[in-house]
């Protein structure tokens, strides 16, 4: 196939140029492999791996904060005399540290999707074996996995710590499991919402701001109104107001089904009936995010 025959033996660097073209006869692993590659590239990128040193700083810092706080809490729990359990519930951890999680998704969702949009690399993907659904699914799964690592790692620290402190194994394992389910749900929800905001605002600065705004403004508004409702004695409204911000949605679901203590005013989250509504809303938001992303990329094509 090559017309120029190799002079590969020449040690002179300029001679390398003369090696003829070699065709590729090896395996082509196709669509599923490409999807996996995109997934791992995005997941690694979320923590700055395979990117510049500068882009590692923020995600690694946030990851450090998440696990360090957990380690401190373990130390506190262990030092307390006669302690029989951790000073914090597994399910409360993500709620307390929601600001850190919010910062993480705000910084990483734009890097996952906006870069390809802003630099118009998307056509390069779609001119390859993967389809639009593969692209969206890989990005969504990778971002959710990154969030799950961020939120799951501190729970693991807590769990290992509690076992070292010889707290009740069965209780701890059960609560740890509940915590993991809760943060898994949170990861998927936040990933979906974060990616939608980022994909709709291709300019990076705006993407970051949009995600932060979505998370903090809704939470601020919901918790304020909940507090007012609680003060004015309309407890019934409190549990329904929680439907309007991502973090209170997760709070509601885990209070109803995962034995969590609600952070709602008065500590009264939704019961099983209202909990079903919470769960449906969460799942609908995730599905909706996927649909919006699919729609967003339909127009990008080539």
């Amino acid at each position: 196939m090559s017309t120029e025959t190799g002079t590969a033996t020449g040690r002179d660097a300029s001679r390398i140029h003369n090696i003829g073209y070699r065709s590729y006869d090896g395996p082509r692993l196709g669509r599923a492999y490409a999807r996996r590659s995109l997934f791992s590239q995005t997941l690694r990128g979320s923590f700055g791996l395979g990117r510049s040193a500068k882009s590692k700083v923020l995600p690694m810092l946030l990851f450090g904060v998440m696990t360090l706080v957990a380690a401190i809490l373990v130390a506190v729990s262990m030092s307390a005399p006669d302690a029989s359990k951790l000073v914090i519930e597994y399910t409360s951890y993500a709620i307390y540290l929601q600001a850190v999680i919010g910062l993480f998704i705000a910084a990483q969702a734009p890097q996952a999707v906006s870069r390809d949009l802003r630099f118009k690399s998307v056509p390069l993907y779609f001119s390859r074996p993967i389809e639009r659904a593969d692209y969206v699914a890989a990005k969504l799964a990778a971002t959710a996995s990154a969030l799950f690592i961020l939120t799951g790692a501190p729970l693991l620290v807590l769990y290992v710590g509690s076992l070292l402190a010889k707290f009740d194994f069965a209780d701890q394992t059960k609560w740890f499991g509940q915590g993991l389910v809760s943060v898994a749900l949170l990861s998927v929800l936040f990933a979906g919402l974060g990616l939608v905001m980022a994909a709709l605002t291709p300019r990076r600065g705006f993407g970051v701001a949009a995600v932060i705004a979505l998370l903090t403004i809704t939470y601020g508004a919901v918790s304020t109104i909940q507090a007012i409702a609680w003060e004015t004695g309309s407890e019934g409204a409190v549990q329904w107001l929680g439907l309007f911000s991502p973090i209170t949605l997760i709070d509601g679901v885990q209070t109803a089904f995962l034995g969590a203590t609600s952070a709602f005013p008065g500590g009264e989250g939704p019961g099983a009936g209202a909990g079903v509504v919470y769960l449906i809303v969460v799942l609908a938001l995730v599905a909706g995010s996927y649909a919006v992303l699919m729609r967003r990329y339909r127009r990008v094509g080539l």
């Binding site: 017309t3 073209y21 395996p27 990117r51 001119s127 074996p129």
Partner: protein, 362 residues
């Protein structure tokens, strides 16, 4: 319509049959039937002629309204993914993230094409070298020149060793030297790498030098499809400029007279180039029918004792294809005044602009 069929049926790389693409307000492709064989094929058309739409359909990314198309023998409607695994695509626009190095980016793209990690790395190193990127491939793309970026774009289209590459306006934004290098590279993709090429451009002249075959489309229909040698033989225009001498104060006039007597066809307004370029009015445009025309000019000039300042082939533009398609000798297009060579391209451009304004790309 498709005059190329005699050459092509051996192994059609791209074949379309009555391919149409209609959007609510525009018809991007109108019953286009094409057969493109192996080699380097130029696809010429103005903006909005349907080039991008055709590429999209060929990659299996948007279904045609009607008609059929096959790439490498695979139906675009059903085997999109299989086609995209064997075809490379280089977009017209910028598509590179500035914060990663060419190596990292091309490796990632190779994996997206299905190459296993080690193969992706090896192929990336090879391909970047073949397109002429050496040490700089480890630096972030953001610092590259336009020419280097074009090479990276080309490399990502070639990295998985496709059987066919679709290059959308690869010479856009390049200076003349970069343009020549890119065209040379495109030629090598076929001769050295054995990969067929479909390259689009709105400049017929530059494709003429690179391609084996040129397809001209306009308004979504096939205007012309023929091998490049056909083009040059039928439409070669020779520009000749001579000095004046004491015996012939009007050297140009004297040569014109001599050539006319020898039976050479003059082009333009009585053979004078009136396009307003430097030297206009002193340049004779004649139709070259073969080697003998060159000899004739040389002998005539020598016989008259004039100095030959230049004798060059004029580049062809789409306009000339319009002109020959309209079925006339060049002289047939002569209306009244002495602005003929100009008036035809102008009207052609207007057609082009009207079409272009309707729709582009998306």
């Amino acid at each position: 319509m498709a005059r190329a069929t005699n050459v092509v049926f051996v192994t059609a790389v791209i074949a379309t049959e009555a391919l149409s693409m209609r959007f609510p307000r525009v018809t991007a492709l109108d019953r286009l039937t094409l057969d493109i064989g192996p080699g380097v094929t130029g696809l010429v058309g103005s903006n909005g002629a349907g080039k991008s739409t055709l590429i999209k359909i060929l990659l299996g990314l948007s279904p045609a309204t009607e008609g059929r198309a096959a790439v490498l023998g695979l139906d675009v409607a059903t085997s999109g993914a299989a086609i995209r695994e064997r075809v490379g695509y280089m977009p017209e626009h910028d598509c590179l993230p500035p914060d990663v190095s060419a190596t990292e980016f091309v490796v990632h793209m190779a994996r997206m094409s299905g190459l296993p990690p080690t193969a992706a790395r090896e192929r990336t190193a090879d391909t970047l070298r073949h397109v002429g990127l050496y040490e700089e491939r480890y630096r972030p793309i953001g610092g590259y020149s336009t020419g280097m970026k074009q090479r990276v774009k080309l490399a990502q289209a070639l990295v998985h060793d496709p059987q066919l590459v679709l290059l959308d306006e690869p010479t856009n934004g390049l200076d003349p030297v970069g343009r020549d290098e890119m065209l040379g590279l495109i030629r090598r993709i076929h001769t050295d790498f054995g990969i067929s090429v479909l390259v689009t451009s709105h400049l017929l002249g530059e494709l003429e030098r690179t391609c084996d075959h040129v397809v001209v489309i306009d308004g979504g229909t096939l205007l012309r499809s023929s091998s490049t040698s056909d083009f040059t033989q039928t439409t070669a225009t020779l520009a000749v400029e001579v000095t004046d001498s004491d015996t012939h104060p009007d050297g140009t006039g004297a040569l014109r007279k001599a050539l006319t007597e020898a039976g050479v066809t003059l082009i333009g307004h009585d053979g004078i180039d009136t396009e307003g370029l430097p030297g206009a009015g002193h340049i004779l445009l004649i139709e070259a029918t073969g080697e003998e025309t060159y000899d004739l000019v040389r002998d005539s000039v020598a016989g008259l004792g004039l100095g030959l300042v230049r004798m060059e082939q004029r580049r062809h533009q789409i306009a000339e294809v319009f002109r020959t398609e309209q079925g006339g000798a060049h002289a047939a297009a002569v209306p009244a005044a002495g602005v003929v060579p100009q008036s035809v391209p102008q009207s052609a451009q207007q057609v082009v602009q009207q079409k272009g304004s309707g729709r582009d790309e998306h």
